[in-house]
């Protein structure tokens, strides 16, 4: 993991001072709410329906056990004993008091954490593949470049008041687990024919009311020149992105209006001018940051690990959990465990203080003290010896997080929705809870196979419904909560946008509609191994429309 040096520490400390002053000036009336709003947003502080919400950054989703323990303490001390892990790999607290924020930030800084740029029209927390460093298919650990971007974008003097928010995602593997083409800039680490590492840069993707899969703008930016290239990308956007209409202000609209070819040309022209002018970091600095992501000291373990094999043979529940929740590790004898924060009937992504502490203990004992947050709102223990998996599973059962449902129908993403969010049309969380209860039977879930349901409470699409195999969008219909269904979205390397099926369903009917969609799929799949998304891509929306709307 990256460890702060004295400079990072200084920045963190000075940031707490700055925000403390800003809160004081707000409370004294020197800053109006309009003036304070961008400042507090840049510190992840939202005014929600009932209280302030604070979003704490978990850069590229990597967390130490010590940090998780601090997050648990904060949930206990400043919130109501809960934290909520988000699709941006961050954590949110929903019941925060403004005057306690400075103190809270100071506590976070003691474990090298902050809430910088987790909201507002600036460069947001960079997200990355949750299996960074442990996945076997990786060209390079995406956290190295993510940390480089984190530092470069922190309080960037030119790009802190962009037309709109700006999100980066990085993947280091051909299998895209970070949904990079749904981001303002998606970076894919690649190797060219000469074997050199560089970056394929996609620009102008996004969710929201105009979902766009980002076009490729540069197939190979040399490793040493990424920051100057990104600076050129951002400068063109900062100058020409629309500022007259909030719904047209994201970079995806600029790239669409200019056309990817013209956008690329403008970026290229600017890049040629600024290349080699000291924006890029020198190789020594890259090497310094890289050194923090060296693989830990793994043991040499011969596979198969007999105790592990036996435990699976003896215990069907454990075997099933291994099947869905343990990802192969590049080092023999290890596995990466995804802890499901989606217990049946629970709130997706929520963890209590006690649960966080228990997971921090597990990380310390079994995963070299490291954790990850996934953009599907789960946690990962990346480095577990196979021989320890059974013990980990047992402990997770005790805390209610051993659901063997990763990637299955109850592994749902849901935005906060009308329970918390002032922009919402409809509730998201209760719908996800009811779907989860309807499909609680694990045999049935495994029978259905891989299926991602994603729920947003309004068109802003924080629940990524466009990228859901089944997307659910809350709409307001004459003051009633209604839900539209989209099918066929995907957020991986085969990214696609879900298509609207037809008129929405009432809150009472939506779960039944989902069940019908799934039954239709089960009836038409060619074989059990044909997944929902594969089947949908083969047959299209018609059979689903027929079963839902009677074919008229």
């Amino acid at each position: 993991m990256y460890i702060y040096d004295k400079y990072d520490q200084t920045i963190a400390r000075e940031r707490v001072t700055e925000f403390t002053q800003q809160v004081k000036r707000r409370l004294a009336g020197e800053l109006s709410e309009d003036q304070f709003r961008p400042l507090r947003l840049m510190n992840g502080l939202y005014l929600q329906l009932h209280a302030y919400m604070l979003r704490v950054a978990i850069p590229y989703g990597t967390l130490s056990a010590k940090q998780l323990r601090k997050l648990a303490d904060i949930a206990e001390k400043y919130d109501r004993g809960y934290g909520h892990f988000t699709t941006r790999q961050n954590i949110q607290y929903n019941w925060i008091k403004l005057d306690q924020v400075p103190e809270l930030l100071a506590e976070l800084a003691t474990v090298e954490m902050h809430a910088n740029q987790t909201s507002g029209n600036c460069i947001r927390n960079v997200t990355a593949d949750q299996f960074a460093g442990v996945a076997g298919d990786e060209v390079e650990d995406p956290r190295i470049v993510s940390e480089i971007i984190r530092q470069w974008s922190t309080f960037h003097p030119e790009f802190s008041f962009l037309p709109r928010k700006f999100k980066f995602a990085v993947t280091g593997a051909p299998k895209d687990r970070a949904a990079i083409q749904y981001h303002d800039i998606g970076i894919h680490i690649v190797k060219n024919e000469a074997g050199e590492i560089g970056y394929a840069v996609y620009v102008g993707g996004g969710m929201g009311r105009t979902p766009v899969v980002a076009p490729l703008i540069n197939a190979f930016v040399p490793k040493a020149e990424l920051l100057s290239y990104l600076e050129a990308c951002l400068r063109v956007y900062n100058r020409y992105g629309r500022r007259d209409n909030i719904f047209k202000a994201r970079i995806k609209i600029l790239v669409r209006d200019l056309g990817p070819g013209e956008y690329k040309r403008q970026v290229e022209e600017e890049w040629q001018r600024i290349r080699g002018t000291g924006i890029d970091i020198p190789p020594e600095e890259e090497a310094r940051i890289r050194s923090f992501f060296k693989p830990p000291q793994y043991e040499t373990i011969a596979e198969p690990v007999h105790s592990f094999v036996e435990a699976q043979a003896k215990n069907r529940s454990f075997a099933r959990w291994v099947e869905t929740n343990v990802h192969p590790h590049k080092v023999p004898g290890y596995g990466a465990v995804t802890i499901s924060l989606k217990p049946i009937g629970g709130i997706p992504g929520d963890a209590s203080t006690d649960q966080m502490r228990a997971i921090a203990d597990l990380a310390e004992k079994y995963s070299l003290s490291e954790l990850r947050v996934t953009h599907v709102q789960n946690l990962v223990l990346p480095n577990v010896r196979q021989a320890d998996l059974h013990a980990v599973w047992q402990r997770l059962r005790e805390i209610g997080f051993a659901e063997a449902n990763i990637g299955l129908v109850t592994d749902i993403i849901a935005c906060p929705g009308l329970d918390y969010c002032s922009l919402a049309n409809a509730r998201s969380i209760p719908v996800s809870q009811r779907i989860s209860e309807r499909f609680a039977d694990l045999d049935k879930q495994h029978h259905i196979g891989p299926l991602q349901i994603k729920i947003s409470g309004c068109i802003n699409a924080c629940g990524h419904h466009h990228a859901g195999h089944i997307g659910i969008l809350g709409v307001d219909k004459a003051g009633q909560e209604f839900y539209q269904l989209t099918l066929g979205g995907a957020g991986d390397e085969t990214a696609s946008i879900g298509q609207l099926l037809g008129p929405g369903f009432s809150s009472d009917d939506v779960v039944g509609a989902i069940e019908k969609v799934i039954d239709t799929y089960l009836g038409l799949r060619e074989k059990p191994s044909e997944t929902f998304i594969e089947a949908y891509r083969r047959v299209g929306p018609v059979p689903f429309k027929e079963s839902l709307y009677g074919g008229h």
Partner: protein, 165 residues
């Protein structure tokens, strides 16, 4: 109205000239860009110093021919969320090598001064109620920064790689 820099109030001899007013003899005037384009010959031939006020959407290529003769460029921030001013500053300094004074005016708040300074601005024109002390405090809050910008002082990366502490 006051003009300040990072340390507080500074002397100012520039006056904003309305489009229908004529410069007095020896006056240093700031005119609109439209007027500069139309009347640059007569404006520059008078013995007065000339500056221009622009907003974020200014086409810098159009401004370029005048740059060597401008004593000041005032960039207006129409509202505090309009961040084009930062790119305008950097481009004027770094791409067009503008050497005169660069001043911000408009709806910025003290906390943005630090960024404006890093993007090539020298001074700020503010209303009488502007909290000057907060600006000084905001500018002084940070002792280090990560990224290169117009100000060429050592970045954190420079300090790390040169071993300076």
């Amino acid at each position: 109205m006051a003009v300040i820099d990072r340390n507080g109030p500074i002397a100012n001899s520039w006056v904003h000239l309305a489009d229908d007013a004529q410069p007095a003899k020896g006056q240093s005037v700031i005119v609109s860009f439209a007027r500069l384009k139309n009347e640059h010959n007569s404006l520059f031939s008078a013995s007065t110093a000339v500056g221009v006020e622009v907003v974020g959407d200014v086409v810098l290529e159009d401004l370029e021919p005048f740059l060597p003769r401008l004593g000041i460029i005032v960039v207006r921030m129409p509202n505090m969320r309009d961040g084009r001013i930062f790119s305008t500053g950097r481009l004027l300094r770094e791409k067009y090598a503008y050497k005169g004074e660069l001043r911000a005016i408009g709806d910025f708040i003290p906390d943005q001064a630090r960024f404006l300074l890093r993007c090539g601005f020298d001074s700020f024109e503010v209303g009488d109620a502007f909290p000057v002390d907060s600006l000084k405090q905001a500018v002084a809050t940070y002792s280090v920064w990560y990224q290169r910008a117009t100000d060429r002082g050592a970045t954190i990366i420079d300090q790390r790689t040169s071993g300076v502490s």
